[in-house]
């Protein structure tokens, strides 16, 4: 008996295996950062405690990642800094997804004038250099973490709006939507009870993918001193403050940068993986 393996064994592997080592690792990082964000202050109770006698120093047994120029423990600040690194992006992605879903459904399902107005607004937002607008607005209004979060919600919602509108247009001509219309259900109910549940996988995937963008955008504002207040442990801010210490304690600058990259990349990969998984689930055929 002979055996003919199908060509493209690689694809077979993708079907056959589970999440895979890389995705498992990414999930680990994502969950780990979430845990730190929730319980950071409990793990490292005093991130601002100064060890002025030491000043800036490299890694040691007492301070695993060394200390910064004010003698503060870098590891402790890194752990507690997870909160602002997670909270802001979560608010940004959820807020943006909420606005985007409502506007996208309105534009895609109702169409007509609302579609034109929403699309022109989205085009206008796309035309603006987002990061620059955020810097200017936050700078003019005097900075602040939640102001930065709010600006970023507004700036990223047109992307979600476009995405949800496109998906709505794809679902709208399907027979199950027509069947609901023939039953005489009001448009709002067809959109919310029938169409929306079928967009949930897309929204979830979009939230995960948007997280990385929001994380970096927020860190960039903090880096420029426009996000969190001075002294608050925050990865973006630590990156800015650690720059000058690159030769005295490289960890003070590199560790927050590494955390930002790891978290953003993990979120992206997890988002990709989720999008692939969810889009197959419940698919009609």
């Amino acid at each position: 008996m002979s055996e003919a393996a199908a060509p493209l064994g690689l694809a077979e592997e993708r079907i056959g295996s589970g999440p895979g080592l890389l995705i498992g690792l990414c999930w680990g990082i994502v969950i780990g950062v979430m845990v730190l964000a929730a319980f950071g202050e409990w793990i490292a109770p005093n991130p601002s405690a100064q060890d002025l006698a030491t000043g800036v120093a490299g890694p040691s047994a007492a301070h695993w990642l060394g200390t910064d120029d004010l003698g503060r423990d870098v590891l402790a600040r890194l752990i507690v800094g997870a909160r602002t690194a997670v909270l802001g992006p979560v608010l940004i992605t959820l807020g943006s997804a909420l606005i985007g879903t409502l506007l996208g459904l309105l534009a895609g399902y109702v169409g007509g004038l609302s579609d034109s107005v929403i699309l022109r607004w989205a085009d206008l937002m796309f035309a603006l250099p987002g990061q620059l607008v955020a810097i200017v607005v936050v700078g003019v209004l005097g900075g602040g973490y939640f102001l930065a979060v709010a600006i970023l919600i507004v700036l990223s919602s047109p992307y979600d709006t476009r995405l949800i509108r496109a998906a709505t247009l794809e679902q709208r001509p399907r027979a199950y939507i027509e069947a609901a219309r023939v039953l005489g259900l009001p448009g709002r109910r067809v959109a919310m009870a029938h169409l929306l549940p079928n967009l949930v996988p897309l929204i979830i995937a979009s939230v995960f993918l948007g997280f990385a963008y929001a994380l970096l955008a927020l860190a960039a504002l903090s880096f420029l001193g426009l996000g969190v207040g001075a002294g608050t442990p925050d990865w973006g801010r630590m990156l800015a403050e650690g720059r000058t210490l690159l030769f005295k304690n490289p960890a003070a600058a590199l560790a927050p940068g590494a955390m930002l990259i790891l978290t953003a990349a993990s979120m992206n990969l997890v988002g990709d993986w989720l999008a692939e998984r969810l889009s197959d689930r419940g698919r009609a055929r």
């Binding site: 003919a4 493209l8 694809a11 609901a180 023939v182 039953l183 029938h194 009609a284």
Partner: protein
């Protein structure tokens, strides 16, 4: 033309003369592995093809027929593995490396796929598709550039495309039937010895199907190719094939010459298929549907695969082991172990099912429920200033449906039949003309006030063609039906009432009450269509617009749904507007029929009269395109002319 006994001798001779086969498949098994779990798709089938022979592989969805075809050419999708041997010219194709296999594909064994709309690259002119294949020939003489084009034109003429201009157009400029012909021409451009055709005409209209099958048959005969025709349609198999393999849940259950199987099937499954096929020449009271649906091959690995659905099943011998295909009579193979005992019962059942019931005579005309007069519908691409090409789907179509009457609307794709149905339920607004439903003007739903619109919704409901699309994949059966019940009732019913009503509705369409927690993904196609029917019935409509309700279903399931529709009509006195392209199906369900051609009603009358003695040439052509088992069916294609 050729009498049945000739077929039998021919088949017998080819089966005896071992070694003359072009292709021999032995113990082909196809398995998949998903997440470490092994699944069987085809469990050990064998088949042979000789030069000049047409072999049919007949089976419903889930029988593994398409995967069998792909396995022969080493084109299984990723994740699927074929075991066994496929011998071609002394070599085992399954053991061959991909490079060697590529030389055989197209030049020795070619494949035609089901969908003519996707099998040609949309960016290449039709001639290029052929030239490309011609240039790959390594045995033939190398031709000049110019000669390739001439050759391509010649090849197109061979499949009946006499216009040389077709070589210079893009596939999207052609109709489905023309594309299928170009696909056939490209597939056989390198003169393969074997052609595998996987459902080549399923996506085509009846009349186009007949023309395409005629092209295939004449090419196969003139070149003495071996043709493996894979189809779900027994009528097509009988019209085309010398020998038929009946495939069920990944196993061959019967093999014999086509006329022999048609005359006397030797497996209860084949009999069930034959009986559930609606006859086109008469109406039967109930179709003998096969209960249940096709199981997974692994569920029936240790018993007769048909045992769970068989009326003649006995624990011993049917469930003690998997029966092998055995020769019951010369060149007639069956996998039924009880065939000697039940043969007479089977033929008795067959002859009793032959008795026609008269088409329901149209009694005194009941009150008119729906009147459609002079309906026009023009579709315009784009809108406003960008308005472009227009298509007139309906041209002054008129019809009437009486209270409790079942009316058919037949026509091919593009005839406007679906558009008319959609106008009735307000999914489209007609450009001109009048629709009166139960005394209310339903021409424009959006112009009606809320009460009138709700009244129409409760009077007319619709069942859609594709049950895989018409149920919300994210919602349970219970949600779908409860929501429809709520839409019917003004004030909120207590939940207990809704639960009871949902259970009652499910029972009415023949589904157990515990299906309410399921999502569509956990339902088969037939079950989905039942849920869709229950949902429509929840509004207690007086007219059900059924838009091709069974065309996406397997023939055994189709019979179940048709029986259900007939029973519902008897029980509830509901009227149907039954839209279909399949005349045989229409005959089983409707009293009167309207024939739609290019948006116009060209003929109407009692269904028996219209189908038996069509007046309009288009109706005649439709009736002639129904596959018949006699071999002159294909040859009569040139006689029926297209109406102007």
């Amino acid at each position: 033309m050729r009498p049945a006994d000739h077929f039998e001798q021919h088949a017998y001779a080819t089966m005896q003369a071992q070694g003359t086969h072009l292709l021999e498949v032995r113990d082909l098994r196809i398995t998949s592995r998903v997440g470490g779990r092994h699944r069987t798709i085809v469990s050990g089938i064998g088949l042979t093809v000789s030069a000049g022979e047409t072999v049919g592989i007949v089976g419903e969805s889930g029988s593994g027929k398409s995967m069998t075809a792909r396995a022969l050419l080493g084109l299984l999708p990723a994740g699927l593995m074929a075991h066994g041997t496929v011998t071609y010219e002394g070599r085992d194709l399954l053991a061959m490396p991909e490079r060697a296999l590529r030389r055989i594909r197209g030049s020795d064994i070619a494949l035609i796929l089901q969908d003519p709309y996707t099998m040609l690259s949309p960016l290449r002119r039709c001639g290029k598709h052929l030239e490309e294949t011609l240039q790959l020939r390594d045995d033939g003489p190398r031709l000049r550039r110019r000669s390739y084009r001439d050759e391509a034109v010649r090849r197109l003429a061979e499949v009946g495309i006499t216009d040389p201009g077709v070589a210079d157009v893009y596939p999207f400029q052609l109709s489905g039937g023309m594309r299928q012909r170009v696909g056939i021409a490209a597939a056989i451009a390198r003169d393969p010895k074997i052609l595998v055709a996987d459902e080549p005409t399923t996506a085509l209209d009846m009349t186009t199907q007949k023309e395409s099958l005629g092209v295939l048959k004449s090419l196969q005969e003139s070149r003495r190719m071996g043709l493996i025709l894979i189809t779900h349609d027994l009528r097509v198999a009988f019209a085309m094939c010398d020998r038929v393999y009946v495939l069920y849940a990944g196993s061959v259950v019967e093999v014999a010459a086509a006329p022999v199987v048609e005359a006397e099937p030797l497996h209860p499954y084949t009999l069930g298929l034959l009986l559930s096929e609606p006859p086109s020449d008469r109406r039967v009271s109930t179709l003998e549907a096969i209960a249940g649906s096709v199981p997974e091959p692994d569920e029936v690995a240790t018993c007769c695969p048909f045992a769970p659905r068989c009326a003649w099943v006995r624990d011993d011998p049917c469930r003690v082991g998997k029966p092998a295909l055995a020769e019951f009579a010369p060149s007639r193979h069956t996998a039924c172990v009880r065939i000697a005992d039940i043969r007479h019962e089977m033929s008795a059942l067959r002859s009793s099912a032959e008795h026609p019931v008269p088409s329901a005579t149209v009694a005194a005309r009941s009150r008119t429920l729906v009147r459609v007069e002079g309906l026009d519908k023009v579709f315009t691409a784009g809108s406003g200033r960008k308005a472009g090409r227009t298509v007139q789907a309906l041209v002054g179509a008129s019809l009437e449906v009486g209270d409790g009457e079942s009316v058919g609307l037949v026509g091919e794709s593009g005839s406007g039949k679906t558009t008319l149905g959609r106008c009735l339920v307000g999914l489209e607004t007609p450009s001109a003309g009048e629709i009166t439903i139960d005394g209310v003007d339903g021409s424009d739903y959006s112009a009606l006030d809320r009460n009138a619109r709700n009244h129409l919704r409760r009077t007319v409901q619709m069942i859609f063609q594709d049950p895989y699309q018409s149920l919300n994949p994210a919602r349970t059966v219970d949600f779908a039906i409860t929501e429809a019940l709520r839409a019917r009732r003004e004030r909120a019913d207590p939940q207990e009432d809704l639960d009871a009503l949902t259970g009652e509705l499910l029972g009415r369409v023949g589904l157990p009450a515990d299906y309410r927690a399921r999502r569509p993904i956990a339902l088969s196609g037939g079950e989905r269509q039942r849920v869709a029917i229950a949902r429509a019935l929840a509004l207690e409509p007086r007219l059900l617009v059924c838009d091709e309700p069974v065309s996406a279903l397997d023939v055994s399931v189709q019979a179940q749904v048709l029986n259900l529709l007939n029973r519902l009509r008897e029980d509830l006195g509901i009227a149907y507007l039954f839209i279909s392209h399949d005349l045989a199906v229409v005959r089983q369900v409707v009293d009167r029929v309207y024939v739609l051609y290019r948006g116009q009603v060209v003929e109407s009358g009692p269904v028996g009269d219209v189908l038996d003695s069509p007046k309009h040439p288009y109706t005649a052509r439709l009736v002639a395109s129904l596959p018949r088992p006699d071999t002159d069916w294909l040859e009569s294609s040139s006689t029926a002319k297209r109406p102007a």
